[in-house]
């Protein structure tokens, strides 16, 4: 397939590398510097020999593809929507953002849409170099359009080296990921600790449980199952820094609005003080660091 990947961050680079082994990949990036670097030197995985030569274009030059995977952060989705509206209405779009805030943004699109969540760990080291720090899979689910068709598309993307799985219920899929993000991301960002530290430090562990309870109450999920999943992820990615921790370290705007902000908006009437405290904390740190919208 001809696959367009929008976003030159860790997720976009990771997908470009793996998918280019079976498909013809074009990566769409925001900055000309990165585009030139990718065109000239290809994209590379650290700890893995060789490089993949792919086409690189600026996002504004988005062309027709058999499928477009949107890998930008949730905060950048609204800027991408006008570009997506210009491409063929039957082009399937795959959105891989954290949180659920982007569901509002994509409402106006008429394309077949898949929503997905990533369970890989990845860290962008250079404009064309990414470290695959945790092997996992990408779970997809149909949001709108013919489900059988979208399922067959996910099968074409799937490969034993880089698996894609197709789930039945997109809402459940996103909610499950949202609980994990709501617990791990702001907590690791506020205390500047790796994911594993959340389980090892008994006070962070205690706080994580309360945050997980709050998220599950609002999203109507089973706490025991979700907490077990949080534990699993923290242990499986023990040495990793969450994306929000990295955002704070690099003075970038965080996805707190799409994660805890979504739970607060949805949880009107619920008593969720720890989630509110974390939300206020990330906002306070963004102000302290001079990060603006």
């Amino acid at each position: 397939m001809n696959i367009g990947i929008i976003g030159g961050g860790s997720t976009g680079l990771l997908l470009s590398t793996y998918l280019s082994r079976q498909h013809s990949v074009t990566i769409y990036v925001r900055k000309e510097d990165q585009r030139i670097k990718l065109m000239k030197d290809g994209v590379r995985l650290s700890n893995y020999p060789g490089r993949a030569y792919i086409r690189a274009l600026l996002s504004e030059d988005l062309q027709d593809e058999d499928c477009v995977i949107i890998c930008v952060k949730q905060v950048s989705i609204s800027a991408i929507i006008p570009l997506l509206r210009k491409i063929r209405k039957n082009t399937p779009l795959i959105f891989l953002q954290n949180g659920m805030g982007h569901l509002d943004d994509i409402k106006e699109l008429y394309h077949p849409i898949i929503l997905g969540v990533i369970e890989h760990g990845a860290m962008k080291l250079e404009d064309n170099l990414v470290a695959h720090t945790g092997k996992g899979k990408i779970n997809l689910a149909a949001y709108q359009g013919d489900e059988a068709y979208l399922h067959s598309l996910s099968k074409k993307l799937n490969h034993s080296d880089f698996p894609f799985d197709f789930k039945e219920n997109y809402l459940r899929l996103l909610k499950e990921k949202l609980v994990i993000n709501a617990v791990i991301n702001p907590l690791t960002a506020l205390f500047q600790v790796t994911n594993g530290e959340v389980m090892r430090n008994r006070y962070l562990h205690n706080m994580a449980q309360i945050i997980c309870e709050e998220a599950c109450a609002v999203l109507e999920m089973d706490y025991a199952t979700r907490w077990a999943r949080v534990e699993y992820i923290c242990e499986n990615t023990a040495k990793n820094r969450s994306s929000m921790f990295k955002d704070i370290m690099d003075s970038r705007k965080t996805e707190i609005e799409a994660i805890s902000g979504y739970i607060i908006k949805k949880g009107n009437g619920f008593t969720i003080p720890y989630t509110r405290f974390l939300y206020d904390s990330m906002k306070a740190i963004e102000i302290k660091k001079g990060i603006t919208d």
Copy 2:
């Protein structure tokens, strides 16, 4: 008077400097290095010419004095109590700790006791050098013993350059200070901001109000009056770092147990999630930094 001052931190050094102008001061410190430095070079205020030559002894060599002022941190009080039990039962003791946790520790002492709270800003720069970063006063109140006698003692300490004030109700005095500490200390320590930033950053401001409400509910204080006081202190010491912020920066054990810990213990049955979150946060950071009891 012959005044003994226990503690060679910022408070002990500040009091030694000012009180030695009218009184004969002996400072009692824990480390021989500091004792020698103080004996040899005297104690100095930065931004102020000259130095005060005072006697310096180790705390374990505590002698009879006309009055002993205890300036160690709340966390060190339990180690000082056995020394105090050895001195004359009619020697008045003045305790200047944050929080209210030390009230339990001093119960076993039979001396006349004054409790006090400091409204000065001070920062220890060297073992015998202290910066007086915010001019204020020291408020005292009788805890046990003859009130008229203790009031006359506080008048002897008072000086226009370094005022002491005598209040009627020690519990009220400590509770008022406790609210201020419960709001400003853990918040500035967690976010590593100066006191002024708590008022300027609208998310910290919001959090501070909630914490102030929680503390006032538990301690049965009037919120509006207390919040006005928090605002005043933050603005009046805008550039200062709170003692807890400094403790975290220097990887020292914080006074969180005596401050938020006291409110949590006292507030059994109260809904005080922000206070609990801050308590857990400071404990989590102490663990992260390897600070143990």
